[in-house]
Amino acid sequence: MYALSIAAASSDNVSKLLALLMGIAVFAAVFIGILLIASLFKGHLGEKIQAAAFVGPTILFIAIGLIYPAILTIRRAFYDGKFFDLSFGNARSRGKFVGFENFQALWTTPGLPGVFGNTLAWVILVPLVATSVGLIYAILVDRAKGEAVAKALIFLPMAISMVGATLIWKFVYYFVGDPTANQVGLINATLAKLGMSPIDFLGNAPLNTFSMIVIMIWIQAGFAMTVLSAAIKAIPDEIIEAANMDGVKSFQMFRFITLPSIRASVIVVLTTIAIATLKAFDIVQASSGGKLGDSVLANEFYTRSFVTQQPGLGAAIAIVIFVLVMPIIIFNVIQMRKDA
């Protein structure tokens, strides 16, 4: 698929940049147009028109680009239809109404129950470990020399795409099958030095799931560390000093002073990472595509919707992701309000 388009791709870089300029020009024109319309009206009625001109485009954009498609997806989950037909909006090509069959298929389709198991491992392990590691690191480097640099090192993976991160770790995990050859991946080379046999970290279930979970923890720990470090620094000095005078030891200080003070931030971090993990498909996609018993819901959504041509099942998976995310966010919002 890519090979076919090589020639075409290299010839039209100029036209791509022209497309970029055109896009910017169109969007800028829309923006200026809105402002011009808004500035034409004055007085009390004018204020209403200005509000409409300011808010209207965003509301319209969200309605067409987010709400309407979401409703279509929910409807799609109750219809069959084997193919990714281009015009499924028509009743004609939507297939027939099948009730909850697509949701039943979540349990009966071979492989899918395992996907739920893998997803569960991701959603439990990544937030817990990433938050703990981030918290420990935030405490250890707090007020230490070179704190800014120390933090930046952990923080940096957040700027790297998950595909890039997966490549970085694929090389760490790299497994050379030939027993006579040198292991060039860091972990397997270390194992070889220690006289142990090398391990194919990304090749076999269930180990591959845990190897990929490590990648996600590597990415998310920086986020946890940043937010929690800020929370720790916001604890008033007086409290710490008072505890110190009472002779409180480091661990007690953490358990009875630090942790309760940053409780709200810890919850925000845990839930935010859980949601990001639930939606992340890039790592599995870039590692094996989910073909080695290591798929997760987000990856299965892509595969079912666009590869195996089961849009009904794909829609059902999207709804499951939505339903799983919702309580986490509602809980989060309630917590936010309580502490505000």
Partner: protein
Amino acid sequence: MSSATPPPVPESVANVAVEEAGGDPSLETGKAKGKSAAGNAARAVSSPWASVFAIIMALAWTTPTVGLFVTSFRNQKDIQTTGWWNAWATGFTLDNYKGVLQGAEGQPPLTDFFINSFVIVIPAVLLPLLLASLAAYAFAWIDFPFRNGLFVAVFALQIVPLQIALLPLVQMFQDLGVKNWPGGNYWSLWLAHSAFALPLAVFLLHNFMKEIPASLLEAARVDGAGHVRIFFQVLLPLIAPALASFGIFQFLWVWNDLLVAMTMLGGSPERAPLTMILNTISGTLGNRWYLLSAAAFISIALPVAVFISLQRYFVRGLLAGGTKG
């Protein structure tokens, strides 16, 4: 009504973090002086074990990246026979970068995809920024019917995972024949990324706008300025940091996105961004690490540079509730 959506982290926390991330240096020293020496001593974890542990962790976090980075400058043969930690003995080369940029082993040249990523990301940051700043202004400072209800609705839409809108969006763009427009499927990506970004953008910018003292706006009104003039002359300069922090979020999000690109560009891979080609060659090139490593670092370089240079805006956005999936 703005208090209905408080940022998840108290403001004082956010301020400290922004300073930490390299904010105003004079502010930082002033703050450090203000802290009592006893407080500092009490907080610092002084055990040598703590330092050792922190250093081990920092090493564990950086070594994977360093490993692939060193590898990207090594000869193909060296990579296959020895670990990257032997690189000092075997020497370095720039051939890998030349190879991927010009197209090696039947791969398309990576420069094309770098340009694609660039063409995709700029309008996809610009459009939500423009629209959301207008909407956020109206939500914060213009009184109109259903204002609170609409704002809560926009805020609540942050919870819709993009997966649930993706497939119908692809079909809408196909029905519209976006492929044949000038600019082709770039439009799909620009518009889709904007739609997914708007709820968060409106929420973030609104929070920042609401913090601006009302007296400033009233003064402008008394001088006879309309909303358009107030927006440009009073608010935009003041919320520039907020625009920057959302801009970085959206830049990183779009540049690093794989899912939206893969679904929207099914039929036109010649417009694929770097992440998509990286994902493809990670499958097709398998063990050819001399190319994979260089390709990975070409795709990583720009976001990391942006991230490092604008880190403090990013941290500020993060603490104001800027998280998105």
